[in-house]
């Protein structure tokens, strides 16, 4: 064989004989992060009553309007056996029998960053077809809705899916023709939102299976989970990929998935421990601060993040006993800590003490922090 020539037969998987490529063998096949809900930095496996526009499990946000407490969310709620190949799922449980108003918005969503969406070419003549697939399990045998929508809320593709039997895992696949119009983020902003509706009103519903120039979060005629007290909806294996058919879920190494999530949120706590919880017996972040006067201590070194953030993050501080906004400044005591000099790589801080600091002396500083750069 001449130098520089490569001969290759078709590469096949060892189990099914299916041809790799066109999705199966590519990196970044799945544009959804934490689609199998294995990463849960925010709340571990605790049940939470989410608040509007906040993440409750990594990369997944709840939109809640106008009033909260209509549903709870929990990793592995109900402790059912996940589909083969999965160990985790997201469980949503309705908290009441709520009749949604026409403009109500109750849904889960993942906001895909533009950098991970730009190659789809949406908003151009070269827009690529995508397929959304996921596993679903519900106490209701009915038709639910969702949508893919841009951040401006003026281009949406409502979809519906049917649970044909109660309390049974089944896989859903929805193919969506790429949208050639509208604005879809291509940098560190929102590329698109993938929405699973839970209780949005009729004014936010549109015809399933067609693009519409309007803010639509669900399909007309679909069921609202929160209309039935105690109803459950479990999801896992959420994947959005290029192409007109669903392929196998893209499993990622745990560390890879965690790092992908930490581009948007990280905390100094032990994995899964809620911010603000007591960690008096656990490690905390240690740092140094120097006294610029008898009452002001400035940070001596930057606290660096594990992963560079999508944007400059918001920072919150916690004392090791759980008290918010306090760090320890040994041996002076515990004081309010002010976040400053924040960038995508880390942050500094300062504090004001009553008195007693020795100018130009360095003090040990310790506590916990959270850093959020969610979309």
């Amino acid at each position: 064989m001449a130098y520089g020539t490569v001969n290759a037969d078709v590469i096949q998987t060892s189990t099914s004989g299916g041809i790799l490529g066109a999705g199966d063998a590519s990196a970044m096949k799945n544009r959804i992060i934490n689609g199998n809900f294995v990463i849960s930095q925010y709340n571990g496996s605790s049940s939470v009553n989410p608040t509007d526009n906040t993440c409750f499990i990594d990369r997944w946000k709840a939109t809640i309007y106008p009033t909260a407490s209509k549903f709870t969310v929990q990793q592995n709620a109900g402790s059912v056996t996940p589909p083969v190949g999965f160990t985790n799922y997201l469980g949503i449980t309705s908290s009441s029998a709520y009749t949604s108003g026409s403009t109500d918005q109750y849904f889960l969503n993942q906001r895909i960053e533009g950098f991970n969406f730009a190659d789809l070419g949406w908003g151009t003549a070269n827009a690529k077809t995508v397929t959304l697939s996921f596993w679903v399990y519900s106490s209701l045998a009915t038709t639910f809705g969702g949508s893919i929508i841009n951040s401006a809320g003026n281009r949406a593709y409502p979809f519906s899916y049917t649970t044909t039997a109660t309390n049974t895992w089944q896989q859903v696949s929805i193919t969506i023709a790429g949208e050639t119009t509208g604005t879809w983020g291509t940098t560190n902003n929102i590329g698109a939102l993938v929405v699973f509706n839970l209780g949005s009103g009729s004014a936010t519903a549109g015809t399933a299976g067609a693009w519409v120039s309007a803010e639509r979060y669900t399909a007309t005629g679909s069921t609202n989970l929160i209309a039935t007290n105690g109803a459950t909806l479990y999801l896992t294996g959420v994947q959005l990929e290029v192409g007109s058919s669903a392929t196998g879920f893209e499993y990622r190494q745990y560390t890879t998935e965690l790092c992908l999530c930490q581009r948007y949120f990280e905390q100094s706590y032990t994995y899964g421990k809620t911010a603000g919880s007591s960690t008096d017996t656990e490690a905390v972040v240690g740092n140094a601060a120097y006294a610029t006067s008898t009452t002001v201590l400035d940070y001596g070194t930057t606290t660096f993040f594990k992963v560079q953030k999508r944007a400059t993050p918001s920072i919150a501080f916690y004392q090791s006993n759980g008290t918010a906004n306090i760090w320890g400044y040994s041996p002076l005591g515990n004081y309010t800590t002010v976040g400053q000099w924040i960038n995508t790589n880390g942050f500094g801080f300062y504090t004001t003490v009553a008195s007693g600091a020795t100018t130009n002396r360095t003090y040990m500083v310790y506590g916990h922090f959270t850093a959020s750069a969610e979309l």
């Binding site: 526009n53 610029t292 400059t312 918001s314 919150a316 400053q340 000099w341 924040i342 004001t352 750069a373």
Partner: protein, 54 residues
């Protein structure tokens, strides 16, 4: 409710915004969704507590 924060040291002056409801420090970055929410709050006619430069 928000409070503006300014701090000056030998590296210069840095500014953040303190969200009082949960003691979170928000940077002036238009890509930060908390800052976007702050701008919306201001656009609605609200005014943050002024900074006390330290």
């Amino acid at each position: 409710m928000y409070k503006l924060i300014e701090h000056t040291n030998d590296r210069g002056t840095s500014k953040t915004i303190l969200r009082l409801s949960d003691s979170t420090y928000i940077p002036y970055d238009e890509a930060n969704t908390d800052y976007q929410a702050y701008l919306k709050w201001v656009a609605e006619g609200n005014t943050p507590d002024p900074a006390e430069n330290t």
